[in-house]
Symmetry: C2
Subunit: 480 residues, 2 copies
């Protein structure tokens, strides 16, 4: 049996943090006189009670968790935190618990699919709670990627690990110190992004919210029109910080401590830069000619929406599906790209494409010279067996998830375009899909409840790199 | 340098066979008084001239071909044969060479996408030429799968090879003897299928044509309405023989020579049977309830159209996209299934799904117990490294092909549904796509010429398991 008491203690701490965080929207409501303060405090006290029970029933101790415990605990924590973090939404003019849970899971997984409309008239406290969920979910994911995923061989962080342990031995021996440094970097980048938005004409409230949802590649906005009505400056600021949000945060920490920019000499980062620049230029030129648009305007639109999709942010600076169905199809493919491993972005991520290409090249060469000895390398290191296995698992599980979720959705009566692109946009943590219902101009409110729970599950699958949850389905997992 | 002369000789023999085959439609035209006899003979003489040049310029000799030579020769042969086999179409009321080549490549790869309409009023000689192309292409693919692919480690035949060599040592030491046995089985099954169609009310001409395109899982019909207007008996006969066409032909040969049905105790065959039965029942019940249709009628429709899609035949006994968009989406996914390795069917094929599932299960178990020693087995044998590599290559290349072909098609101005499903239906060798243009009720005639050449290439990619052509793109392939 798993020793549950240290885990219960840890979970209690997380819930206490959620309860504390609810005082932010409570304060906003009080300051803005929205009358929701009591509701947020109610939710906070309820959550804090649960936290207190968990902490007192738990046991603080240094335990060596097994791999199995970690898988269970990771999945369980995301679900339980969402269950409580959803409470404030339910107090707000009669949102059902299903909608509240969907919105919360979409928030903390930084997916950004929304069931809310009329955002422009929504209470600031509710809006800031959404943005906070994404911001905290984003840094939570990054820290999880550094602290937990490498132990589970999930998410490819092992690929970048030897290099980090080179330096971590010297000056950052413990995970929680790295965690603190990561939070500092994340805070600093958010502040800079906020400043940029302020300078480009956003109100302070807009700037704070969008900065939080930009850096976390979350994509929640304070208006139904997403980023459409903001200035060109705001769009370029968004493009820049979404792109930075797609970088491995750990490299900022390394750069600071090694006082060297050499850390950026990384195959993943270079691939990410190259892909973004080429794709944005290509898309801009195509858009300019297809829509007969001035090149700079086309490049601005193309860069923003491209970076938004490939970093899995999901902001829209225009309804790009209105550019024509051809663009819609290209954007659907781009949803799979993702940023770098170690960032807040979801989806396949650049390193998996690079790995796949390298492995494919080796495999094809072995087709011609079956006895050749070819070492496939990534980031100057030989690609190990477990990395290949992990890539295969991820790819197969991703395809299986999309097929199964799509079929379940159409079986619930959802139209095929919404089903197919909804499955994709949630499992990749992008947010908006295609089509009239869930496209960049729509939202998920009209879907049946079953579809909302399924899509929330798909978001969690995506966030936990699918594998973390898939192992729980193995009978072998539950046998000792 | 490759010694081209023995290859030229072989290619000449293939062309001579094509030239000879043209006398069949020539005879049909003469008998049916269609006035195309001279045209077919002209095409035949032209092809025979090319064959004669190749044979005289070549050199008959037993040579040991290198792996590289085989890759080049295989791809080259399919292209050159298509170039000549397309000639008869060009003589028929002004079809462009692009259309003729598309139709031919679609025929010999047993894809069955068509640019012709008004089939009911098309000359019998042209119709029989289309059916012959599929029938010959089908057996050509099976023999290639037994004789050439195992040497190239393409198509997974190695998985089933040890077992076959167990018995081939005893009684079939040479490839051309196996080839002859395969042709006999193929002929016998075609004759039985033809008999079934005759008994179910088809005319002899319809029965012969449909028997040829059923066994080859090709899907060309003699009427624009495909199998819609034939009897229920014809549909069940079609279902049975399409399904048989999706079996490994070699097992029939084994069964005959070992006088035992034990050869069918094969993981691939069992998986194929299980999947077909479960999917047909599920689809039938769904259709019956969704369309308020009597269960037997629904099962007939579901079985025929399901088996047609999963064996990559592409016949339609109804416009299944009219059942509603949900069915259309499910059929799109089903296009990927494919029959067994060693059959005439294309697409991913059952064994790759079984392999993927086995490998995934092993990979997930290693996620929990990283040091466990787990042997993944398929068909009672341990899955070797090169099988895993081949699976990865195929999967990645298939996805890349679909993405690249779709994007190129939309860039040519083709609508996204046609582009996406056109890419899928050609690379899987199914035939019809979805949507108004290329759906079960449409055809490929209105696409731009560039799109037709691209889709023809996609069919060839699918037929040669993509890998065979992909290695030609490696710079390493061309270096000595
Ligand atoms: K997002
Ligand atoms: K076909």
């Amino acid at each position: 049996m798993i020793n549950l008491r240290p885990l219960t203690f840890l979970l209690g701490l997380f819930l206490a943090a959620v309860a504390l965080l609810m005082w932010v929207p409570a304060g906003v409501s009080l300051y803005h006189n929205e009358g929701l303060t009591a509701d947020f405090i109610k939710a906070s006290l309820f959550t804090f009670t649960a936290a207190a029970i968990a902490i007192s029933g738990g046991q603080r101790s240094q335990i060596k968790l097994s791999t199995r415990d970690l898988y269970l605990f990771t999945t369980f924590t995301w679900v339980v935190v969402s269950i409580f973090a959803a409470l404030p939404f339910t107090f707000y003019h009669g949102i059902t618990y299903t909608d509240a849970f969907f919105e919360t899971m979409s928030g903390i997984t930084t997916t950004g699919s929304t069931v809310l409309s009329g955002l422009d008239n929504t209470a600031w406290s509710i809006l800031i709670w959404r943005s906070l969920l994404q911001w905290v979910g984003g840094i939570g994911f990054i820290v999880m990627g550094v602290a937990i995923f490498p132990m589970l061989n999930v998410g490819g962080m092992r690929l970048f690990r030897t290099e980090s342990s080179d330096w971590s031995d010297k000056w950052l021996p413990r995970t929680h110190l790295i965690g603190r440094e990561l939070v500092k970097v994340y805070l600093l980048l958010t502040a800079l992004c906020c400043l940029g938005y302020l300078l480009s004409g956003m109100t302070p409230f807009e700037a704070i919210n969008h900065a939080m949802t930009t850096l976390s590649t979350g994509g929640y906005s304070t208006t139904d029109s997403s980023m459409t009505n903001f200035s060109t400056g705001a769009h370029w600021n968004g493009t820049l910080f979404m792109w930075l949000g797609g970088l491995p945060m750990l490299l900022f920490v390394q750069m600071k401590h090694m006082r060297s920019i050499k850390v950026w000499n990384d195959q993943q980062v270079k691939g990410y830069l190259l892909f973004t620049v080429c794709a944005a230029l290509g898309l801009g030129v195509w858009l300019s000619s297809a829509q007969d648009m001035p090149l700079f305007e086309a490049l601005t639109l193309a860069s923003f929406n491209l970076v938004s999709v490939i970093t899995t942010t999901g902001f829209a600076s225009t309804d790009y599906s209105a550019w024509g169905p051809a663009f819609a199809m290209v954007f659907l493919f781009l949803m799979f790209v993702g940023g770098c491993s170690g960032s807040t972005s979801g989806a396949v991520k650049i390193f998996r494409f690079q790995l796949a290409f390298t492995i494919l090249k080796k495999a094809l060469r072995l087709q011609i010279h079956p006895n050749a000895v070819i070492a496939a390398r990534y980031n100057r290191r030989v690609i190990s067996e477990d990395i290949v296995r992990s890539l295969i698992s991820f790819t197969l599980l991703l395809m299986a998830t999309i097929v199964v979720v799509s079929i379940l959705l159409v079986a619930m009566g959802v139209d095929p375009i919404t089903s197919f692109t909804g499955a994709i946009t949630t499992v990749t943590n992008v947010g908006p899909g295609l089509g009239e219902v869930i496209g960049p101009a729509g939202n998920f409110a009209t879907l049946p409840d079953g579809a909302k729970w399924l899509l929330a599950f798909s978001m969690l699958l995506g966030r936990l790199e699918i594998i973390t949850i898939a192992v729980l389905l193995l009978p072998a997992f539950w046998r000792y």
